[in-house]
């Protein structure tokens, strides 16, 4: 009885632990694109995965970094362990504690401090900095696995070898090293696994155009998870699992004679692994990877390139290829998730981006802080394709149209499921309607949430009036019990899957959702809303300003703008491109291109200053924590 209970308990824990991963694995074989439906078994995502060049590139980077960092960490860590073993006990424990702190330290702290260190030494963030960071955090793991082996090793064998005429180095490699080899090997594997696994530290120390699998996955999932990512995550999980099993099946301490004989064989085998297989692997990986990079020419050195920093999935990759072919300029492409993530990276000057695509209020902030260069519009003749209305709108944040070229725009509105509401929606008031309790999705972002509420109250969404803000805060708190979830990207999936009736959403997402689920309808509430514009800007510290202008000009070409519109589905300010849209339903879509009358009450966000930002954030925090 007790035993069965124990087993059930154990099973329960295992299920809890592995259910999420199992879900992932199952989904990676799901033929249907949506999570909610099982469309039959398929290996198609795995095939797609290996055909995706950027993912394969990330894979190569991941492997080479994991391998090199593990190799260097193993050498350095083993040397450190030997040094420690020779020091006095007290000193050793002090050193060990110090060496172990980075391991226990929050990764984010390690990541940020490493980034700051690299910046202090004026290093460009990129492959080298990731590698250095990985070596750094891997060393303690190697030390930790080598030290116990060293402790078991009889120091006298080392002395005996010297006594027989061996130099200290020869004695070490002939006598000590074979004894600690299992520890060194498992340290190497551990380091390899840790490097493979790492996201946070890589995230902070990486530069544009370099991605490991984990940062790649992260940037891919921001716009909704593609099934290839399930496949990739499954593969990563299986790899790490395999490595961990390898590490943990290292031979136990006490051995019978037979086992020792076996182990000796294993040592011989691992010796061959070390001498032959590993270098062979290294060569293969480097050569194969070199081909990858060469074929992509992504890393061609020289100054003829342009470093683009853009929102995730905000540009058709095809367009980049075309630009590279037409101009011979290499595009180094890097993505961010929010304006707030982008801003400090640009401000720190860690990476000299050439062209960035921030939103309206952020452009204003960047102008205010003197981070942007004036664009030479002589180099951008295609500016003529941009509708005058949008240039006018831009003046709200770029008073003289000197710094920015509009790229995408849209509105914030309500997406609702026609079958789940009683009557067509036209007011923000529905977000406070008790009838829709637990069917409402709110944007999990301070300006959007307050913007919607301020508009509902009839105020400006750039209000800095304390009383108005408090009023909005009270309403948001009042709304909380009705809200099913505060989300950003998941509004799309949830609405498509009929999981909620009403969601606050960006217009561009709405078009996509409508295509997937015809029951969905989008409306800009009558009280007015947010109209936003994302525009291309060139930072002051750009190294390739002319290339950046070529790039912007290229994107303003009608055919390219059309490509990107079809890829992103956000409204384009490029009137020439709009004319090229074949499907009249889209060309005249009221979601993508609303009438001027509908936009009457709409405003763009403005940068309200650091102080007001803090007030907004504090009020929002109070809402979320109530």
């Amino acid at each position: 009885m007790k035993k069965t209970l124990q087993k059930i308990y154990l099973a329960l824990i295992l299920i809890l632990l592995y259910a999420p991963i199992l879900t992932l694995v199952v989904l990676s074989f799901n033929a249907s694109k949506t999570r909610s439906k099982w469309g039959g078994f398929t290996g198609e995502w795995y095939v797609a995965l290996f055909q995706n060049e950027s993912i394969m590139n990330a894979l190569y980077t991941t492997l080479i970094i994991a391998f090199l960092s593990a190799l260097f960490a193993t050498i350095l860590g083993t040397m450190a362990a030997i040094g420690l073993q020779a020091t006095k006990k007290k000193l050793r424990s002090v050193f060990l504690t110090i060496a172990n702190i980075p391991m226990l330290n929050a990764e984010i702290v390690t990541g940020i401090s490493l980034m700051l260190l690299f910046l202090a030494f004026r290093m460009t963030l990129g492959f080298t900095t990731i590698l250095l960071a990985h070596i750094t955090f891997n060393i303690p793991y190697v030390m930790l696995s080598v030290l116990p082996k060293l402790k078991q090793t009889d120091i006298h064998t080392y002395e005996a070898a010297q006594d027989l005429g061996a130099s200290p180095l020869y004695a070490f490699f002939k006598v000590v090293f074979p004894d600690i080899l299992p520890g060194v090997l498992s340290g190497f594997l551990m380091a390899f696994t840790m490097s493979l696994d790492d996201f946070i530290i890589t995230h902070f120390t990486k530069g544009p155009g370099v991605d490991t699998l984990s940062t790649k996955i992260y940037s891919e999932v921001r716009k909704g998870i593609k099934p290839e990512m399930y496949a990739l995550s499954t593969l990563m999980f299986v790899t790490v699992l395999f490595l961990l099993v390898l590490i943990n099946t290292a031979p136990p301490k006490k051995l019978t004679k037979e086992e020792r004989q076996k182990q000796r064989k294993a040592v011989r085998i691992s010796r061959t692994i070390f001498r032959k297989v590993v270098p062979a692997m290294l060569v293969i990986v480097i050569v194969a990877g070199g081909f990858f990079y060469n074929s992509k020419q992504n890393f061609a050195n020289g100054s003829n390139r342009v470093i683009v920093y853009n929102w995730g999935e905000y540009l058709d990759p095809e367009a980049i290829t075309m630009f590279e072919e037409e101009t011979g300029i290499d595009v180094v492409y890097e993505e961010y998730e929010t304006n707030e993530i982008m801003y400090p990276k640009v401000e720190s000057g860690a990476i000299a981006y050439d062209v960035i695509c921030p939103s309206d209020y952020m452009i204003q902030r960047m102008i205010d802080n003197d981070l942007l260069a004036k664009i030479n519009f002589d180099n951008i003749p295609n500016i003529k394709n941009i509708g005058q209305t949008y240039m006018e709108q831009s003046r709200q944040f770029d008073a003289n149209n000197e710094y920015s070229v509009p790229y995408c725009w849209g509105t914030v509105g309500i997406l609702y499921n026609k079958k789940m509401v009683k009557e067509p929606i036209e007011s923000w008031s529905v977000l406070w309607d008790e009838d829709y309790k637990d069917s409402i999705l709110m944007q999990d972002s301070v300006r959007d949430a307050f913007g919607v509420t301020l508009k509902y109250l009839g105020y400006s969404l750039n209000s800095t009036d304390r009383d108005e803000l408090y009023e909005a805060q009270e309403l948001l708190i009042e709304q909380k019990p009705l809200v099913q979830a505060y989300v950003i990207d998941q509004v799309r999936d949830k609405m498509i899957n009929n999981e909620a009736a009403i969601g606050v959403i960006y217009s561009g997402e709405a078009i996509y959702c409508q295509q997937e689920n015809p029951d969905l309808e989008y409306v800009i509430p009558k009280e007015g809303s947010n109209i936003w514009i994302d525009s291309w800007v060139i930072p002051k510290n750009a190294q390739h300003k002319e290339n950046a202008e070529k790039f912007i000009n290229f994107l303003c070409r009608p055919d390219i703008a059309l490509m990107n519109f079809e890829f992103i589905t956000y409204s384009t300010p490029n009137t020439a491109a709009r004319e090229l849209i074949e499907d009249p339903a889209i060309r005249n879509s009221r979601i993508a291109f609303p009438d001027a009358s509908e936009l009457e009450g709409c405003e763009t966000f403005k940068f309200l200053g650091d102080k007001n930002d803090r007030i907004y954030n504090e009020l929002w925090r109070q809402v979320k924590s109530k």
């Binding site: 006594d163 027989l164 005429g165 130099s167 006598v175 004894d179 020792r260 000796r264």
Partner: protein, 357 residues
């Protein structure tokens, strides 16, 4: 008399604040079997490690055939060590173990083969070439360790308690084996042990050490029969050490009773220590002895009986082939030349040494 092979001059060594060797002087002659004997912590192993090159002395020099080798690395010295725990290379075969030093010296394959065979024969382990160390018994491993050292034809073999981990019977066999080896090879042995019986059996010269000082140097007979101080007397074999007063030449007063002895040259009424070995005490009828006592303990030891006799409030240890039951009144008699008179310790260190045992 053969030449000095190794000359140890004014060696001092301390670990942290712990002085292990203090201004030690000693020389070792060619072909000598010299044993460093003392309790653990007496500095004997440290001295051996300094000779092997594994420790650097704080002060003093080591001369080898007249040349200063104090700062020479272990692998450059013409001596080989047999370690206490064998220190065999477990991932190598016996043959590979033995060939280790020869390979470094770049000897030819056939030479190495011959040497391996010769060395294995010498230690009576022919045919063990392809075995691994941990398939061997302790005694066999020890002999491999010796074989591994001697194939290099060192001038001196350093042995650090090589028999300490073996059982009694094996230890005795190995003692004879070592003596045989030493005679066959004609090399100098420096042997470290805390086992006085081992030292007495094998050595040409014994160096008794305690707390970093040499207490006495001499042949086994000298050391046993004429210990120069209480520490040596007590450490080597069993003995009765009694406070005594030298009344005059050849007469010593022990526990208030005068005993004739053979020692001369002490001052009148000088306080001394008298050492009497248990087997040198004759138990006779009470009226025939110099002193009277009562047997208080009796143990049969095989070769002899061990008894404790209380006389004049001192418990005398007596070994005798004659048995006297507990409670028997006996007389104690000692031949004059069986009484060894020692000066009282003068220096503090000697006192410490004496108190320490």
């Amino acid at each position: 008399m053969p030449n000095k092979l190794i000359d140890i001059k004014n060696i001092s060594k301390s670990f942290d604040d712990n002085l292990v060797l203090d201004d030690l002087n000693l020389y070792i002659r060619e072909n000598e079997f010299l044993t460093l004997l003392g309790p653990s912590g007496c500095g004997k192993t440290t001295l051996l490690r300094i000779l092997g090159g594994f420790e650097k002395p704080d002060q003093g020099r080591i001369l080898f055939q007249g040349k200063d080798i104090t700062d020479l690395a272990p692998n450059k010295r013409q001596l080989n060590t047999v370690f206490q725990k064998y220190a065999l290379f477990t991932h190598m075969t016996i043959a590979e173990n033995i060939a280790f030093g020869l390979k470094i010296k770049k000897k030819s394959k056939s030479y190495i083969q011959d040497k391996i065979r010769y060395a294995l024969k010498l230690v009576n382990l022919d045919g063990f070439e392809n075995r691994y160390p941990d398939s061997l018994s302790g005694g066999q491993q020890q002999r491999i360790a010796i074989a591994r050292a001697i194939v290099n034809e060192p001038k001196v073999l350093l042995l650090d308690e090589p028999l300490g981990a073996l059982d009694l019977k094996l230890r005795q066999d190995m003692q004879y084996e070592l003596i045989r080896l030493k005679n066959e090879l004609g090399i100098t042995f420096i042997y470290v042990t805390h086992d006085q019986e081992e030292a007495l059996t094998m050595s040409d010269t014994i160096v008794v050490m305690n707390q970093g000082y040499i207490q006495q140097i001499g042949t086994p007979e000298d050391i046993y029969n004429e210990p120069q101080n209480a520490f040596v007397a007590d450490f080597i074999g069993e003995s009765n050490i009694l406070p005594a007063i030298m009344v005059q030449d050849k007469l010593v007063q022990i526990l208030g009773t005068n005993f004739p002895c053979v020692d001369t040259g002490f001052g009148k009424n000088e306080p001394v220590d008298a050492v009497i070995r248990p087997e040198d005490i004759d138990l006779v009828k009470p009226e025939d002895g110099i002193m009277e006592g009562v047997v208080t303990h009796l143990i049969f030891k095989g070769v002899h009986y061990e008894m404790e006799v209380t006389a004049h409030n001192f418990e005398w240890l007596v070994h005798s082939t004659d048995m006297f039951p507990v409670g028997t009144k006996v007389g104690i008699k000692v031949d004059p030349f069986d009484i060894q008179i020692m000066k009282k310790p003068e220096s503090e260190d000697e006192e410490a040494a004496a108190a320490d045992e």
